[in-house]
Symmetry: C2
Subunit: 144 residues, 2 copies
Amino acid sequence: MMSHGCLKEPKEPNESQDKAIAQTIIELERAALVRWCSGDPSGYLEITAPDVVYFDPFIERRLDGLESLSDYYERLRGKISAERFEILHPAVQRSGDMAVLTFNFVSYGAHHFELRWNCTEVYRRDADSWRIIQSHWSFTKPSS
Amino acid sequence: MMSHGCLKEPKEPNESQDKAIAQTIIELERAALVRWCSGDPSGYLEITAPDVVYFDPFIERRLDGLESLSDYYERLRGKISAERFEILHPAVQRSGDMAVLTFNFVSYGAHHFELRWNCTEVYRRDADSWRIIQSHWSFTKPSS
């Protein structure tokens, strides 16, 4: 279809495009996690948008903005390690330039220590790059 | 501007439109929470999309789909109550037909019992109605 100009985006979902975007986003996340699990938070910081908002189980309230998140992550640099991890049943829901990635996550440390997580990452396409604008990490079934 | 037909959405953010949408979404959430805190999950179910995904601290893994969520919520009907609650510093990040609402939440029960939460709700505009497609509730600083 070579029409130009007044061309609306098709309303029908384009399955192969959706799959490609889902795969791109899952791979971005996986690559950031590989670096994270070796103590390097820069993998995440490099794909995070300036207006990011962030939750994890260790902070009193939502963190707002890349500067706050960078400060927080820099204090963790070199202190986190996991021998391996699993991303369980990742799902991507997309509309236009926003996509929501959700998954359960398991990280394995020394001495069979494992942690189980719930994770929601919202990505937004900014100038052709997908960037995280919202991160929510929580423990699966914490004791309180 | 009365142009019809081939009219693209303006690329510049429309601040008053953004504010109005943010307010709409926060009010949808607040109204659902009022009903939730009186034991009625239908407020949420009525604004939830068929493809919703859901996390909370009590389940082993992500719940997928409105039917699963309805089953889960129906078991809680009449069993939840809070005397009052607070939605703290709600923020809405929107791109097109998707909007991410995040906030910290405090619910107050009898005998000064309080629970503190992190919450992320992703809304999508389906046929002019905003619907929840992702819900992630977690405790703020749980003990493990």
